[in-house]
């Protein structure tokens, strides 16, 4: 089956995202806009993944649980897990390694933990938009060791990317690289390329998904085997096709 996937979305937990963008709104909009598989990837934290799991169950859409981690060089990396617990564990391991920047919610934005009914559970009091005290190579290796799908984010963007911060894509344990537009070979280096919405506002959800061929039934909650591993296999065997604008989605 051909599935539409979007692995890069921020909820109201990310200080730079809209407060409207609850995990349940992402799940609902993803379904309404035709996605089959969607991941939540807040900056350096997975605390809204429990709500996202429940919201996706209600909407009948397949979820993955992730974090967009920020290396000390300020390179963003999407790290995806198959279960809420693995994502929460990874987030917990990052917490003590966030650079301790002064956090003023008035200026930087609130960081809201919610439940699947948009009830507020907590406000995170330390700044999640900060960089971690871990280098890019070490961060990717650690996420891969934990079994994550590792995707350097928006590698062709002029900020927070391997190209802007490192100047090139170093060798690493990546399953794919995420891009905003067709990539020159020196930035993809043979890795599969996916598009991603990097949504921060409701209108961004599903703006840049990618298509991927998956085995029949792979997205059913009762499917044998893990969706994460099925997706990893599909990415690595070249069965993903990025879309560079929404008009291309309806194409062949």
């Amino acid at each position: 089956m051909r599935a539409l996937a979007d692995l890069h979305n921020h909820s109201c937990l990310s200080p730079c995202a809209s407060l409207e963008e609850s995990p349940s709104l992402i799940a609902r909009l993803a379904r309404e806009r035709g996605l089959d598989l969607v991941a939540l990837t807040d900056h350096n934290s997975a605390l809204n993944c429990p709500a996202f799991a429940e919201a996706c169950r209600r909407e009948g859409i397949a979820p993955l649980f992730g974090i967009e981690a920020s290396s000390i060089e300020e390179v963003h990396v999407v790290c995806l897990f198959g279960s809420v617990d693995e994502a929460l564990d990874f987030g917990e391991s990052l917490r003590g390694r966030l650079l301790d920047l002064p956090y003023d919610p008035e200026k930087l934005g609130d960081q809201v933990v919610v439940d699947a009914d948009e009830g507020v559970l907590d406000l995170v009091g330390y700044y999640l938009g900060a960089a971690l005290s871990i280098g890019f190579d070490e961060l990717c290796a650690e996420a891969a060791d934990r079994g994550a799908i590792v995707v350097p984010a928006h590698v062709d963007r002029p900020m927070f990317s391997v190209s802007s911060q490192l100047g090139f894509l170093p060798p690493g344990p990546y399953d794919a690289v995420e891009a905003m537009r067709p990539l020159p070979p020196e930035l993809s280096r043979g890795f599969p390329v996916v598009s991603g919405s990097d949504s921060h506002y409701p209108e961004h959800v599903a703006r840049r998904p990618f298509a991927v061929e998956l085995p029949e039934g792979a997205l059913d909650p009762s499917a044998a085997g893990s969706l994460l591993e099925t997706l990893r296999e599909a990415l690595r065997s070249g069965r993903a096709r990025p879309f560079w604008d929404s008009a291309a989605r309806s194409g062949p």
Binding site: E73, E74, L99, L101, P102, D104, K107, L108, A130, A131, P158, M159, F160, S164
Partner: protein, 111 residues
């Protein structure tokens, strides 16, 4: 030294002139925005190659008066718009951060 005086003393091109012409007391040279957030001082100038609107957001957060973009890096329109909204000056130099920082240091210490 005011921002306008600094621009002419260092031969900088003013890209965004809708700023408050404040007195500059210090500078900070860095391309890591989290480092700027943690260590730059208010009423200073940021010397950087990070020509994008997030640099403006950090400047505004810290209370920086101006951003000097080095190496003639192209400056996107959304950075100029953000700087205008925040009244942060955006100045452009063809020189490297090393050279701009040296000139800035000398200019701020001249009696």
């Amino acid at each position: 030294m005011r921002i306008s005086e600094l621009a002419s003393a260092l031969g900088l091109e003013t890209i965004q002139d809708g700023y408050e012409d404040r007195e500059i007391s210090t500078g900070y040279s860095s391309d890591l925005l989290s480092d700027v957030m943690a260590n730059a001082k208010a009423d200073g100038v940021l010397v950087t190659v990070q020509a994008h609107k997030n640099a403006v957001a950090v400047a505004s957060l810290v209370g920086l008066a101006a951003i000097i973009v080095c190496n003639s890096r192209p400056i996107p329109d959304d950075m100029i718009e953000a700087a205008r909204a925040e009244r942060v000056a955006v100045l452009l130099s063809p020189e490297s951060a090393f050279e701009v920082s040296g000139r800035l240091w000398t200019a701020l210490r001249r009696p």
